[in-house]
Symmetry: C2
Subunit: 138 residues, 2 copies
DNA sequence: GGTTGACGTTAGAGCTGCTCGAGGCTCTAG
DNA sequence: CTAGAGCCTCGAGCAGCTCTAACGTCAACC
């Protein structure tokens, strides 16, 4: 299977696939005579797992690591580790959800004030909030 | 006021403040004889507005632009524009909230399966989903 | 007068996770 | 023969900071 087909099947782009390879997150596939990458089913599975894990919100490195272990036969251990990772991701996620809905309330409030014709000073007020530097949940 | 104090007051870091200046998003402040930056109240207000807007989820450029307009006296216009920006941000935000809670449901589901002792193959399944490349809401 | 420690300065690299473009090769269909 | 789709590599670019190295400044204490 060539890179375009693979990318399409996995719902990603050829650019991303090559990126993963360049960064050593998946092994480089065989090459055909013309230099084109040729992917096996195994390759596709591993990459698919990586992508699936990414979509669950794990970091790229984490996902690559788990995908590697699993495709080397230690799927059971993976599922143990996955379990705890998922638990902590869910905690983060709930946190993030709270933040975002808090943000929405602030926006709604500001919207209402602006709509009422006020251009209040201070236009914005920087309350004491937690400010995350953690991009891991996007 | 020096940079450390300013950063603390605004709940940010000296690094970030210098970053904004380097990128021309806020004007460079006066310098003391020793070369230290000296911020006036005006400087602080403008920077504070920028930071507040950032925290409302606006892009850095957008925030800088509005902060600039406002600190040049066109606060009323700013509040008009802000109104429409906020409306569209809220739309994005709702979308993002839906996504995240959907993700949470997926995680919960997977968690339950793993907890039940299954190391199911395929461990993960890449369903058809929307996959955003839009980082603007973090 | 010497030292410590907190603060300031700069230029520049690094982070995440891709995305995109330039410039070129290969293959298939018409 | 040519057009177009797909592949190749290399390298830059994005947001929005964060951090480091190597240095200067200043007040306080001994």
């Amino acid at each position: 299977m060539r890179i375009g087909t693979l990318a399409q099947q996995l719902g990603t782009t050829v650019h991303a696939v090559r990126f993963y390879e360049r960064h050593g997150l998946v092994p480089a596939p065989e090459r055909a005579e013309n230099g084109y990458r040729e992917y096996t089913e195994r390759d596709a599975e591993r990459l698919g797992l990586l992508i699936g894990l990414r979509r669950l919100g794990l970091s790229l490195d984490q996902s690559a690591l788990l995908a590697a272990s699993c495709s080397e036969g230690r799927c059971a251990e993976v599922s143990d580790e996955l379990q705890s990772l998922i638990a902590s991701k869910r905690t983060e996620l709930k946190h993030r959800l709270r933040e975002l809905s808090h943000l929405d309330r602030r926006l709604a409030h500001l919207e209402a004030r602006l709509h009422a014709g006020a251009a209040p000073r201070p236009l914005i007020d920087l309350g004491k909030e937690e400010h995350r530097h953690d991009r891991s949940l996007r």
